[in-house]
Symmetry: C2
Subunit: 370 residues, 2 copies
Amino acid sequence: MSSRVFPKEMEGTITFTRGVPPPEAFPIEDIGKCFDAAISNDPDVVLQYGHQQGYLPLRRELASEYGVSESEVLVGNGSLQLQDLLAACLVRPGDVVLTEQPSYDRALTTFRRRGARVKGIPVEDDGISIERLEEALEREVPAFLYLVPDFQNPTGVTLSTEKRRRVVELAEERGFWVVEDIPYRKLRYRGEDVPLLREVSAARVVTLSSFSKLLSPGIRVGFAIAPSALIVALSALGTETYLSPVLPTQAAVAEYLRRGLLEPNVERLKSLYTPRWQAMLDAVRRELPGARAFVPDGGFFVSVFLPGDANTENLAGRAQQRGLVLTPGPSFFAESDDEEAPGERFVRLPFCAVTPGQIEEGVKRLASLL
Amino acid sequence: MSSRVFPKEMEGTITFTRGVPPPEAFPIEDIGKCFDAAISNDPDVVLQYGHQQGYLPLRRELASEYGVSESEVLVGNGSLQLQDLLAACLVRPGDVVLTEQPSYDRALTTFRRRGARVKGIPVEDDGISIERLEEALEREVPAFLYLVPDFQNPTGVTLSTEKRRRVVELAEERGFWVVEDIPYRKLRYRGEDVPLLREVSAARVVTLSSFSKLLSPGIRVGFAIAPSALIVALSALGTETYLSPVLPTQAAVAEYLRRGLLEPNVERLKSLYTPRWQAMLDAVRRELPGARAFVPDGGFFVSVFLPGDANTENLAGRAQQRGLVLTPGPSFFAESDDEEAPGERFVRLPFCAVTPGQIEEGVKRLASLL
């Protein structure tokens, strides 16, 4: 028998890749009970075709939360599916779509696959650069601007209230849609909520969100809130694509909300994630002093641009050899007007599915590669 | 109090439109128990992202049933979603897709939306016309040929073994895919099974099916079986489109299969549907003697071409006024080389979600419109 000289965290591979909740995040027993209730209480609806726009009781819960009518709510099989429908409805071949730079990698892929030229506008500590956005709008009006305004994926930054006002104003002046994707919004570990873009002015805003980060990703319940004419178009394409959404999962979520279980679960998640967030902030400050770090107030991600003189070539590949799994930075970067390719120096550090010990060790390994 | 002079079936609207199972078809209690077991037994998987190709235990069940490996099975959110992915993967702009004429209306729409020119090959009493198929292949090779070989939607006919052999032979000679969509196959009310096209030779065959007609449509569990290289491509596009499929529903189906509940449920459904099938056959013979009827051995549909001299103009609209809801015939018809537009005279008569009394009364109302 060999004696163990290292603490457990120093062994094995550490994964800083996808924004996936840890298994201990799932309220298994309550979800099970809600499935049970959903199927016993409304079998003729949840087991049948129909409710193409999403399970009506869930649409009503969401309409009430967001202060809109049911006709402005679409619930589908996860929010990526809704991003795909949205891009299919709004993008004409050759259209430009603007995103934050960096942005959610799967959104970039989806918009490109639907024919968009995706252009990235740099993110600053308080969100997308308004100056650079205005410059881009001088050149052409996009089909839409895609933003993750709260605890952005991948950087972690939050768009300031002042910038939200200007974004919405520009959208209304120039006539483009703003898609605000807010899956992390309720996971705030410090400070106060900033108004939603739709709260500033909803006319040109599509709000996307999901229960993946608050309840369970496997149930794939995502939703869109938008003016009803756009919801009608999205829903019609959804019906053509998948006929009806999966209903038992939506009904289980409706039951979970009806029972008032979401808010206590979010509080539980915040208690679980806050020490991990703190550990990641501390580790980045301590181990990567030369990096430009984005410091989030919530969500799933801290991120850094590594120092310009660091040897980041093939960083993800070299990290793997040291037992550290990273997503290659360029995945999060769209085409931009910058000559520099800062994606090479960009690292997203998801902290929710790793323990404080793993976080410390993982960031140490990252520092050792520079 | 008015006395009731009409039997109940003669009142109210009768719906002969979509192929939807009646609520009494759903094994509610067993499905509820299977959801329960699925969530308690494997929560870290079914509530999480992952299993992009479908819930592994369900893929294993299906692989075993169809005599293939897991790598040849993809389970997604309903089979229409898989048809959409398939069309996106196989159709290049301008490609032709061949279908039976008439065919499943939503499939036609999906293939067209993905850029195909859809051409219909007439259906005969033993399935697609081989002569007309060969003529069409002389002109161009399609991306794929889409067939519903068992109890076809909408006609109800079954493709003969001899024709299946020839179709597969042509596909292999000319190098196109044959998509066999078999959601109704297990609902046979008389006679013996005909071999699957994949049983004749699987190299160019994609088999699509689902649990919508055997268990529940609302769960949206559909699957594709195909050579693994094609499954990899479909699954990659699925991951880009919806990230992961909805897993709790797939896990509930896996549990339902594991418990051996599917076969008894299919027997129960056959007992429920056989008298309705018989009632529809009788009513069509009695009330529509001048029509060309397709006589099915199973499934959901009887169908007729009304007599050529019948006044079928605006048939669906006139039927509605008589309390009879029909799907307009042309929905099921693709472009074809025939000058005639037989869609105007075509009526699909789904019998599973209506009682024998409603069937008799509905067919009488139809006859009265001619």
